[in-house]
């Protein structure tokens, strides 16, 4: 097991900059998500840590040792592919044993380690099956066991849950987290699904256009995003744009949105974000917070655990998340008073 550090990595394909001066530290035993839309460079970064591709400039270190010129087969990493890439002609046991066989591990030891790995992923009884006789979730577990059994320095997963249906995906999220914690292997996975990144990872690296936009714990990056991109890509956000001053940001309509925390210098244009679930609907004697606006409910979107209200306020539409806790949800056309704390309003840097 090892810590991994990428330092100032750049990689171009023709005129396309896949990675642009990216630096990130992956602590020994940590669970990391590389999150971003397609074309953001997240997979390129993963493939570079694995050794499928080499950076044009920059360094990759494992435990402080430079590895960027070490070929893939000598890097001792465990890789799980999006389509699992199980060897179709080999049984489950043989698939998992492959990495030990090519290392010349003795037969007895191989058998013990394969059995242990299959137990870890709860597939003990299926070792004689061929990959085509397995379900998607089982294939995923075999791929995981095959990658773990070689005691890799780092475990790399490319969109590990992308091919599974929703219910299975939730199960596997819990499973992956358990397996990662039990083995303690430094793990990096690539995903375009923000929910997956938030639930599984200890830390998230957010990428866009080949650049690392933000890096931090899921709570940090979700509650206090620093950039417009982080605010809108991770979950939903109401964005307000205007002139910055001591109180907050004054919109074109003349209203001022109270903002807590570090704001852009007074007199400059700035923007801020507030998550829909941080906005409350108040009526009568209920206490109002720093920000208060009135509006008319335009439409509602029921999503099971919550309802999103689209509230028209002057020229603007504000999205409000109302948790489904049995309270009455305002009807379409109803006038409502919205309120939220300055604490919940996050100042953002422009991209």
């Amino acid at each position: 097991m090892a810590s991994v550090e990428v330092k100032n990595i750049s990689r171009s394909f023709g005129s396309f900059k896949a990675l642009d001066n990216v630096s990130m530290y992956f602590e020994d035993g940590g669970f990391y998500a590389l999150l971003g839309p397609s074309g953001s460079g997240k997979t390129t970064l993963l493939r570079m840590i694995a050794g499928f591709d080499y950076p044009d400039t920059g360094h990759i270190e494992m435990n402080g040792e430079s590895v960027e010129r070490v070929p893939l087969e000598k890097r001792n990493i465990g890789m799980v592919f999006q389509n699992y890439a199980l060897f179709p002609n080999l049984s489950v046991f043989e698939n998992v044993a492959f990495g030990l066989d090519v290392r010349g591990v003795a037969r007895e030891e191989t058998r013990n380690r394969v059995r242990k790995a299959l137990e870890l992923v709860q597939l003990g009884k299926l070792e004689d099956r061929k990959p085509h006789q397995l379900s998607g979730g089982q294939r995923q577990r075999v791929a995981l066991a095959r990658a773990i059994v070689i005691n890799p320095r780092v475990l790399l997963l490319d969109e590990p849950l992308g091919a599974l249906d929703k219910a299975l995906r939730l199960d596997m999220q819990v499973e992956l987290k358990r397996i990662q914690r039990e083995t303690g292997i430094t793990t990096v996975f690539v995903t375009h699904d923000q929910e997956e990144a938030l639930t599984m990872a200890d830390r998230i690296g957010l990428l866009k256009d080949g650049k690392l936009v933000e890096e931090g714990r899921p709570e940090e990056i979700y509650n206090r995003p620093k950039s417009l991109f982080a605010a809108t890509f991770l979950g939903d956000a109401n964005i307000f744009e205007g002139m910055s001053n001591e109180r907050g940001i004054t919109l074109a309509s003349g209203e001022t949105i109270a903002v807590a925390g570090e704001k852009p210098a007074s007199g400059q244009t700035g923007c801020c974000a507030v998550r829909p679930e941080r906005i409350r609907i108040v009526s009568g004697a209920q206490q109002e917070l720093e920000n208060v606006v009135e509006g008319r409910v335009e439409r509602r979107l029921f999503a099971g655990n919550s309802t999103t209200l689209f509230v028209n306020h002057k020229e603007r539409q504000i999205r409000v998340g109302v948790p489904n806790i049995g309270s009455l949800v305002p009807a379409d056309g109803e006038t409502v008073t919205l309120t939220w704390a300055a604490e919940s309003t996050v100042p953002l840097a422009r991209d």
Binding site: L72, N76, F81, A85
Partner: protein, 263 residues
Amino acid sequence: MSKTTRFLSALGRGYVVLLLAFLYLPIFIMGLMSFNASPFYQLPMKWSTTWYEALSQDDRLVGAALNSLQIAIITTVIASILGTAASLAFFRYNFKGKKVLQTLLLPPIAIPWLITGTAMLVFFYGVGIGRGLHAILLGHVALALPYVIIVVNARLQTFAPELEEAARSLGASQWQITRRITLPYIAPGVIAGGLFAFAVSFDQFVVSYFLATPGQTTLPVEIYAAIRKGFTPEINAVSTIIIVISMALMLFTARFYKFGGNG
């Protein structure tokens, strides 16, 4: 089923029966006549294995048949190995001129063997290879190679490159990957390609005819020479043996490669 569908389905079945009759009837009759004692195809047939006995006494035909078999087997082995290696190179590497090379593989299949044969004769004569069994073998390998490459290549199209990447990430060397992952996967393609090579060589007349020397020849060339001297039912006998071997090979291939139809 409506009346029209029933009629059309009967029509379709009838068509297939006619087609198969057209293909197999001449062969069937030839096989039958190889067991007819009369050299003039007299009916009713008198069952006999005379012509097979005569064939076994015919050193020229038997010798040519053994030559053919030997050349076909060696051609199969060489063309399969070289062709598979070439397909893997096309699959794994990107190099300058790859597209051109791949495209150039197709025309030799379309060029008439008569022309290829003439060209080979002139070329082999010019560079000192000359004629004989070794020249025939060389020519057959060249003819068979494109078939092997195309068939193996088709199989490789369904092979996910991630499988080789996964094997590499697990620490396997290029040779271990090829032997344990890639070759087992493309084996049906290699076998099918090999059988194609065998068929191209074993059935080859034109190129062999150009490159053969009088004493050293292959079965199709010898049959042609025999027919020119006068047709004997011995030819029916040897043809029947060849057909049985060829059909067995093709059915074997079909099982491996699922040519047309499923299963």
